[in-house]
Amino acid sequence: MSTTTTDGATADAAPAVPEVLRVTGLQTSYQFRGTPVPAVQEFSLSVRPGEIVGLVGESGSGKSTALKSILGMLRPPAEVVADEIVLDGRDLRGLSADEARRVRGGEMSMIFQDPINSFNPAWTIGSQFRRVLALHRPDLRRKEYDAEIIRLLRGVGIDGNGKLDSYPFQFSQGQLQRIMIAVACASKDLKVLLADEPTTSLDVTIEAQVLDLLRTLRAERGLAMVLVTHDLSVVAEMCDKVVVMYAGRIVEVADVFDLFERPQHPYTAQLLRAIPGFPHDGERLYAMRGAVPGLDAQIRGCRFADRCDAKLGSICDTQAPDLYPVGDQGARAACHRVVTDLPTPTVQETSR
């Protein structure tokens, strides 16, 4: 068994608070040349109000797909099945298309990686904003829209006066991402914000502003967030809980502190090792060999076995590990090492 012990470091981890979003048994498959290819399998997630959950993994591990599936944005031929997708006590799977549409942007919304492409280049910022208000703010009258937009923009640090008739290309990337956040949070009923790599395409200095803004929103409105990223430093800075995905499956779920201190899955450990140290310690940077397997690859054993530095032996090639519980704080890891009594060598090797 591993080293996880009682751990009260995360103060707000009181299990009494009910989750605002709970997803279990999510499976999404795409059609690729006529055959369904699973992009996400056995995915589950639970987020409490005010909690930021990081969703981590290399590109192509299924993070974005999972988010889009939860929000109900995928349409046939993509196929989404789940045991439950419960938002604030209501299972979204049973909703009609129209009801599901009203949830999007109303109770749960999403921001995207590239703010420039997130706005329609042919319409002004104001018209795109007004359209969302018309959908999700029945409390406002039409002539109150502009004042509200200006107020919301001020909330994200943008002076919107006289800029509502400007087109997206007249703003900078950082500004657009903040406007996007304002649009996404325009609804008063908003409970969950899904953020798909919201800072990946931004400059480092602007990244800090946007992350700051997200933290403020969490603090002020008690929003729950799912933050997809492949940047572990963003995770460390922002998240309470972390879900690590690899090749369409969850490989580890852990409290953010535990994840960095005591990674349970060799993949997590290797990911952590691949972060360049600052200041540079003079050692050669660790690079993970190989690449994420294709979604259509037929793999019998552990999907990570090929690239694993801490492989146990033949069991890794023949038997897929379950997502075993680690400790009693809800942490989990999909590695055979968790259930064997072997120490996890990667932990010592990789923690720096």
């Binding site: 889009k68 929000l71 944005m73 549409r101 009203r102 949830v103 999007r104 942007g105 109303g106 919304s109 999403m110 921001i111 995207f112 990686q113 590239d114 420039i116 492409n117 997130s118 706005f119 329609n120 280049p121 042919a122 319409w123 002004t124 359209r131 969302v132 959908l135 999700h136 087109y167 290309f169 007249q170 996007m180 649009v183 996404a184 899904l194």
Partner: protein, 321 residues
């Protein structure tokens, strides 16, 4: 906008000058002595010499070009060899029919091609889509004069008496009949282009549907209908507009065969008739006219593109993508 219009117009000047130079060269290089063609074979030698002098044929070529060019700017495109009438008159005479034909064809292209392409994209890879795609490929492959011949075969032999398939009635004489006489020619002219536009609209729609802002609109709960009509179509039609503009130019040229098949007295017919009797001033005058129209249509399309695309209209010219 005004500055843009002026600068586009200015950029057309060298092309127009080049068009006039090429036209003049074609005129002078074409076989036969213009003076002889003008006065006729049996004319006495003095008449021929007089004609040569009148036409300045013994002057240096640049002087000839300059004279010809200044005439042209004043609206004198030359005189027909055959009936001694000004070329401009002939053009003015024949233009309405061709214009009517081109406008009708363009309407058919837009009203049929674009919706088919949109439908095809929205039903991508399903049966509807496959039918439309095969249909448009077939449409592209059949040249307009072949379509024209089959229409004549159909309405002239198989189902006679339903539609007029020969001749033309002017709009002012009988509106309904006039439209009827140009319907079949317009269909023939439009058929291949409909396929082209449908294909283009489809691929353009699919590309836009894959953009992040469509996902973002969905994520904000915008209705699918609104996403398609407001977000997607406008952006998807940008490349279509460009191609439509170019096609309008080709419609003028393409009407040459269709007008011949359906016996429509338009510019295209004039071109063929004049060339057949080697009346070069008319042929080349009309060609030059069509080329100039083509250039102007392209300018209009450019400007139209600016109207649709805010980035151009607002005139934002920085390196930012």
């Amino acid at each position: 906008m005004l500055r843009m219009t002026l600068s586009r117009l200015a950029s057309a000047v060298p092309v127009l000058i080049l068009i006039s130079m090429v036209s003049f060269a074609l005129l002078r290089l074409s076989p036969g002595d213009p003076a002889l063609l003008s006065v006729g074979m049996e004319a006495p030698a003095e008449a021929l010499a007089k004609a040569r002098a009148e036409m300045r044929l013994d002057d240096p070529i640049w002087t000839q070009y300059w004279a010809w060019m200044t005439d042209m700017v004043r609206g004198d495109l030359g005189t027909s060899y055959s009936d001694k009438a000004p070329v401009t008159e002939a053009i003015a005479d024949r233009l309405p029919a061709t214009l009517q034909l081109a406008v009708m064809a363009l309407l058919l292209i837009v009203l049929i091609g674009v919706p088919l392409g949109v439908l095809s994209a929205l039903r991508a890879n399903r049966l509807t889509d496959q039918i439309i795609r095969v249909g448009s490929l077939a449409g592209i492959s059949v040249p307009n004069f072949v379509v024209a011949l089959f229409l004549v075969l159909a309405f002239g032999w198989w189902f006679p008496g339903i539609m007029p398939y020969q001749g033309y009635v002017a709009l002012g004489d009988d509106l309904l009949l006039s439209l009827k006489t140009t319907l079949l020619p317009a269909i023939a002219l439009a058929a291949p282009q409909i396929g082209l536009v449908a294909r283009l609209t489809r691929s353009s729609m699919l590309e836009v549907l894959g953009q992040d802002y469509v996902s973002a609109a969905r994520a904000m709960g915008v209705r699918e209908r609104v996403i398609i009509w407001k977000d997607t179509l406008r952006n998807a039609l940008l490349p279509v507009v460009t191609v439509l503009g170019v096609q309008t130019g080709f419609l003028l040229g393409g009407s040459v065969v269709v007008e011949t098949v359906f016996g429509i007295p338009g510019l295209g017919r004039l071109l063929v008739e004049s060339f057949t009797i080697r009346d070069y001033p008319v042929t080349i005058g009309v060609m030059m006219f069509i080329a100039a129209v083509f250039v102007f249509i392209n300018i209009v399309v450019d400007l139209l593109y600016g109207v649709i695309n805010p980035r151009i209209r607002v005139g934002y010219a920085s390196g930012k993508e």
